[in-house]
């Protein structure tokens, strides 16, 4: 038997007995970032494919939530910092090796983009909207002219943002649970799924809802596939990663993960959306809320469980 104890009584707050420096702020920030990435991605995609008339909600209305989500996400990130007064330091350096750094910069690109996009389409919701200043009108006119270029930039930067929400974790080899490149695509898929769910919710157009329900079903399928892959990878890896996987396969995070994330957040909404596509009448809010809930829970559980997984020596 082997027993290891710290006899000098180390009890550093947030570190001992188990690492817990990242609370609700980081998963919230990642969820909001992922959601915004999903919304902007679809808006850009259907603009590029010239479907903005068909999928009006996705292209014009739903993306208006993105700047709100992004700003709230940045607030959450800010709250997480322990040395808040030095926040600006994030933007005086670019360090490509640091996911935190390029994440902060990606947000700096995506947030204004999403605001411009909102400004371009605000008249679709408020027809009487008046910008008061001609300069702004002209500026918006300019962006309208270059809408496709803008959409391409948005497509790429929102995909980066979506993947980044996972890479922030997977770049840490000190936490074996996070140290898998699957997290990038998994979080991107989860963000896209949340974005699609919001479009389904807001849309009044039957064809659009149907299209996004199909999309969402497909994305959920991909997510389940990625999750299975992730566990296969862990179980075929080193002892520390097997231990990490066991947190979800019998360990303390088993029930929350499989019930909240996989069952309620993916399988149930997939079944409901599938039934709806077959013609059953299902209140649209139920699958939508479940998808969003699953997406939030995924971030929280991975963030917390990751801090519980570690190397042993």
């Amino acid at each position: 038997m082997r027993e290891e104890v710290i006899i000098s009584g180390r009890n550093n707050p947030l570190i001992d007995p188990q690492l817990h420096v990242w609370h609700w702020e980081i998963p919230t920030y990642l969820f909001l970032g992922g959601l915004a990435a999903g919304l902007l991605f679809f808006a850009a995609l259907y603009t590029i494919r010239n479907k903005d008339e068909e999928y009006k909600t996705a292209v014009r209305i739903a993306p208006m939530l993105a700047p709100i989500a992004l700003v709230l996400g940045l607030v959450a990130l800010f709250l997480d910092l322990h040395n808040k007064l030095y926040f600006w330091r994030l933007y005086t350096t670019i360090r490509l090796e640091s996911p935190m750094s390029w994440g902060a910069w990606t947000l700096m690109v995506v947030t204004p983009l999403s605001m411009i996009w909102t400004a371009m389409h605000i008249k679709d919701i408020f027809p009487k909207w008046n910008w008061k200043f001609d300069v702004i009108e002209e500026l918006i006119e300019f962006f309208h002219k270059h809408k496709r270029t803008l959409a391409w930039i948005m497509l790429i930067s929102s995909a980066i943002l979506g993947i980044y929400t996972g890479i922030l974790f997977s770049a840490f080899n000190a936490r074996p649970l996070w140290n898998t490149s699957i997290l990038g695509p998994l979080f991107l898929a989860s963000g896209l799924s949340a974005g699609a769910a919001v479009v389904i919710w807001m849309s009044k157009n039957h064809a659009e809802r149907k299209r996004f329900a199909q999309l969402d079903l497909m994305i959920i399928g991909i997510e389940l596939f990625l999750i299975i892959h992730m566990f296969m990878g862990f179980l075929a890896s080193t002892q520390v990663q097997i231990d990490a996987a066991n947190l979800f396969l019998g360990g303390e995070y088993t029930a929350p993960f499989w019930i909240f994330v996989v069952f309620l957040g993916m399988i149930v909404p997939a079944i409901l959306e599938g039934m709806e596509l077959k013609g059953f009448k299902i209140p649209v809010a139920i699958p939508v809320v479940l998808v969003l809930f699953g997406s939030v829970m995924l971030r929280f559980i991975i963030a917390y469980a990751g801090q519980a997984s570690r190397w042993l020596y």
Partner: protein
């Protein structure tokens, strides 16, 4: 730095010395002593290790710092610049040894190898106070330094080398 696990008696003087020298806030510590018990009674084996930041050569904490506050300093020591650190805690999660903590003032803090003393030609506080003289501190690039000599003579190990951080704390076994 090399630490002789065979000489250490687990008195924790190094921990107290560090707290005093570096004004470590109460309730926190930059170094700590680990006791490992192996085997079943009566065949027991014990190892005592005084641990701290490993001043890794390939340190994830420096890599993931978004502001450059965590950096390599003289002789490869890894330091945090207080007023560049935003307290995002990325480095804390990136360290496989849990060597860092958030100082109550908001920045991230950890062992500095007492660089302020070393620059004056003194030994780090923990090394100088150890009653069994079980720690050796010096320049690993200099083959004549005491620490290089002892690493040539004795068997040693590093902690979690498989994490790939190239730790610079050597435990003589």
């Amino acid at each position: 730095m090399a630490i002789d696990t065979k000489k250490c008696v687990g008195c924790c003087d190094c921990v107290v010395a560090c707290q005093t020298e570096n004004d470590v806030p109460i309730g926190y510590c930059r170094d700590w002593v680990v006791e490992v018990m192996d085997g079943t009674y009566p065949q027991l084996e014990m190892e005592l290790r005084s641990e701290r930041c490993n001043h890794c050569e390939n340190s994830p904490c420096v890599r993931c710092c978004p502001t450059g506050a965590s950096h390599y300093s003289e002789g490869g020591t890894v330091l945090v610049t207080k007023n560049e650190c935003i307290g995002c805690s990325a480095c804390i999660t990136s360290c496989p040894y849990d060597a860092r903590f958030v100082h109550p003032e908001g920045y991230v803090d950890k062992c500095t190898f007492c660089l302020h003393r070393v620059k004056k030609g003194m030994q780090p506080a923990c090394v100088s106070v150890c009653p069994t003289k079980c720690m050796y501190f010096g320049d690993l690039d200099d083959p004549r330094s005491e620490v290089s000599q002892i690493l040539k003579k004795r068997k040693y190990k590093t902690l979690i080398p498989e994490a790939g951080t190239k730790p610079h704390l050597y435990f003589l076994i």
